[in-house]
């Protein structure tokens, strides 16, 4: 008699677990930080090539809200010879830009997440981003210039 109760309880637990797994595979689990990072990178490049640099700051705001909505952490540091109307970096803040005229020394202490080390000169004009996407399981960091 006792074993039959255990059997019923086991069946019930496994059925409940199956349902939880079935309904819990939300879009967030099917997207990873790598794909979100590539989304950001590709669209920033697309905006610059097709709509102009004026729209970049707008897109970063939308992107930050979007990543927050799907439970991801997203932050970036940018270096630009254009004025992108993203707030200026002061050394402590994130989601900000370093604006430069002439030349700029890129190193890890500035980029926070990315381990890059070189000097940018303008012209040519530069927009570079170091970004970090993470969730509770994994993270993705990358540096790119357009």
């Amino acid at each position: 008699m006792k074993s039959q109760y255990i059997l019923l309880a086991t069946i019930a637990i496994i059925i409940i677990l199956s349902f939880i797994t079935y309904y819990n595979l939300s879009p967030i689990k099917n997207i990873n930080p790598n794909l979100i990072g590539k989304n950001f990178e590709d669209q920033i490049t697309y905006i610059y090539q097709n709509f102009g640099y004026n729209y970049i700051s707008n897109y970063t705001i939308y992107f930050q809200n979007y990543t927050k909505y799907i439970n991801y952490n997203f932050s970036f540091i940018c270096i630009s010879s254009y004025n992108l109307s993203i707030q200026k970096c002061t050394g402590n803040n994130i989601n900000c830009c370093y604006y430069f005229n002439g030349y700029f020394v890129v190193n890890k202490s500035i980029l926070k997440y990315c381990n890059e080390n070189f000097i940018l000169y303008n012209p040519p004009n530069w927009i570079c981003f170091c970004y970090n996407v993470s969730n509770s399981d994994s993270y993705y960091i990358n540096f790119f210039c357009i």
């Binding site: 059997l7 059925i15 199956s18 879009p27 099917n30 989304n39 905006i47 709509f51």
Partner: protein, 106 residues
């Protein structure tokens, strides 16, 4: 003797149900291989629902309009309740800056 039969029955049920559980878990995550979608090929999906290959939702971030297209026709959200999102992307816009989120369902 009777208790032995019950114990074997119990063990067999647990094994069977565990396999069922593992099967549903893995078959589900394997079916939705997100890498099969190339964002560059999906930029042409728009709110006019003229593509009859996909079930998709477009959330326009400028005016918060939500459009759901079900194999080429515009429908309301009740049509996609039993489908699961398999791809998500935040596009900046097609011909001009007009950010929108594309979600493809399967």
């Amino acid at each position: 003797m009777r208790s032995w039969i019950i114990l074997i029955e119990l063990a067999f049920s647990i094994i069977l149900l565990t396999f069922f559980f593992l099967y549903t878990y893995y078959s589900k995550s394997n079916n939705y291989n997100i890498y099969t979608f190339d964002p560059n090929n999906l930029i042409y999906l728009n709110t006019s629902c003229n593509n009859n290959l996909y079930i998709y939702e477009i959330i326009n971030l400028t005016n918060s309009n939500i459009t759901i297209c079900y194999f080429g026709k515009q429908v309301n959200s009740t049509y996609i309740q039993n489908y699961e999102p398999i791809f998500e992307y935040l596009y900046a816009g097609q011909n001009y800056f007009d950010p929108y989120i594309l979600i493809i369902f399967k």
